[in-house]
């Protein structure tokens, strides 16, 4: 009799343990994504000012990023603090660049490029085909408690991210872009986060300013005859056109690829006079790879491992 009771007890205990473990596991998986979704939302909804140190190889740039809402429209302002003046203003879906020795110009964009990867503020589900979301530990950054979320690449074709999110607002306080061997390529470190309760004067001022008209690319009327026999999981064609490269005036067919975080540019042109290197990589992870396919040269550029670029370049086929 007592042995039966014991068995029942053991079973109940076992079930209780399982019940405790599985929801915990399930919850972890949900909440890593939920954290990222909160971040994406916070980047759009919150009003804040962050002072940031951006590291790319040995290159350090301090910058200030201010975001808020004016007349129900998102307004953001970015300024690099060192070197020649360089800044950008976003009002709704228009980003204007104000730079040293250059007439300001505007483009249609949902984010100011160069601070946080655009994918951080986009649809997080889009990233799931290429990355696994894993919750990490907690630590203190910019004087605030933060939660680590890892974006682990599901294959070797892209780099991984670690993002630390402010526990209170879910705004990013730091991110690292790393190779598979944990070599740091790029880091963004918030040194101060100010959560604002109303849009600061500079954003109200920026909203009032008249910015240059948006420049727009003419739609390519020529159908591209190029396709890819292979692309890494999650990568899709974003756009394509034909244009000339600055500097050498070369005419290229251009195809943009993205997995939501990593962006790759593919250029197809006639074979050049001088051979390009098979693989070239800058210290911040931006790589270039060139392949001669038939009588054309395919050049792929992007912040992914050069092996990925080479394989994509080799996968270009005529439809």
């Amino acid at each position: 009799m007592s042995s039966i009771l014991n068995r029942v007890n053991v079973r109940i205990l076992g079930l209780a343990l399982l019940a405790m473990m599985f929801p915990a596991l399930a919850q972890d998986e949900v909440s890593a994504k939920a954290w990222l979704e909160n971040m994406s939302q916070a980047l759009h909804e919150k009003e804040y000012k962050i002072s940031v140190i951006q590291l790319q190889a040995e290159h350090i740039s301090p910058l200030v990023y201010i975001h808020g809402k004016v007349d129900a429209k998102e307004v953001a302002f970015l300024e690099y603090l060192n070197g020649p003046p360089q800044s950008a203003v976003r009002v709704d879906n228009t980003v204007s660049f104000i730079e040293y020795k250059q007439a300001p110009y505007s483009v249609n964009a949902k984010r100011i490029p160069g601070v946080l990867p655009a994918g951080f503020a986009g649809d997080i589900s889009r990233l799931e085909s290429g990355y696994q979301f894993v919750l990490g530990g907690r630590s203190r950054l910019a004087g605030r408690p933060s939660q680590l979320v890892r974006l682990i690449p599901k294959d070797d074709f892209r780099f991984g991210y670690q993002i630390w999110l402010d526990m209170e607002t879910a705004l990013p306080l730091r991110y690292d872009l790393m190779t598979k061997d944990k070599q740091l390529l790029e880091q963004l470190l918030v040194v101060e986060l100010l959560v604002l309760d109303k849009a600061p004067a500079i954003l109200i001022e920026a909203k009032k300013q008249e910015w240059p008209a948006v420049v727009v690319q003419a739609q390519s009327t020529k159908k591209t005859q190029w396709d890819f026999s292979w692309l890494p999981q999650g990568f899709r064609v974003q756009t394509n056109d034909q244009h000339r490269l600055m500097g050498n005036n070369e005419t290229v067919e251009y195809i943009a690829l993205s997995d939501g975080l990593a962006n790759i540019s593919v250029y197809i042109s006639k074979v050049g006079d001088s051979p390009l290197p098979e693989g070239l990589v800058t210290r911040n992870g931006l790589g270039l790879s060139a392949e001669v396919v038939g009588n054309v040269e395919v050049v792929a550029v992007g912040k992914v491992p050069t092996e990925t670029l080479t394989r994509i370049a080799k996968s270009v086929v005529i439809k």
């Binding site: 190889a57 040995e58 290159h59 740039s61 690099y80 070197g83 020649p84 003046p85 980003v95 660049f97 104000i98 730079e99 040293y100 007439a103 110009y105 483009v107 249609n108 949902k110 984010r111 490029p113 649809d123 004067a201 500079i202 240059p212 008209a213 948006v214 420049v215 727009v216 690319q217 003419a218 739609q219 390519s220 159908k223 591209t224 396709d227 899709r236 064609v237 974003q238 756009t239 244009h243 000339r244 600055m246 500097g247 050498n248 070369e250 251009y254 943009a256 993205s258 540019s265 051979p275 390009l276 290197p277 070239l280 990589v281 210290r283 931006l286 270039l288 050049v299 550029v301 992007g302």
Partner: protein, 209 residues
Amino acid sequence: MDKLGQEWVSAAVDGEVDNNTLAELANDIDSHEKWRDYQIIGDAMRNELPSVLNIDLSMSIAEAIAQEPCHHMADVKTEQIDRNVSAANQSSKQQSKVVPLFKQFGQYAIAASVALVVVVSVDNYNQSNTVDTSPLSVLNTRPLVGSVSPVSLQTGSMQQSSASASKNDQVADQRLRINAYIQDHQLQQRLNSDMNIDDNSQTEAIQSQ
């Protein structure tokens, strides 16, 4: 629009934006010129100069770009009768205030300040066709804006060239091409950040005209 410069920005950041200072600062064109010099002097004093300093190269490229008259925004406005405009306007139905800057096969006029990587030196090319044993060779690069960011080059089977003169030409041309591609990629990050990344079709985008 030229007056809409960095000064407004830095003053505004400090909360000092008022019309008088704005006008005053915007007129001070000389200080723009000094910026670069001060930066380089500062770099030199802090011993942060690259081993090969090639300011003239990056400047001359930027200036050549800036002086391309037919690609300036102001001039493009006069080309609105261009056949491509109709296509451009179609693509942006909701935008009434649009400057058609890029013609098909057009050249981007706005990229001068997109981090221009000027590859200054390429060395350690393979001298033979044997397996590449040389370590990653390091290129000195100097972006137009900002400081130096070195680049390492994995030399694959680089073609041999017996005449050193033609090799130098080739190397110079190669550098130019590498820069052109990297710079264009950076520019595309600005121009195409608006693209619909939720598009489910992988090949549809290519096929559409």
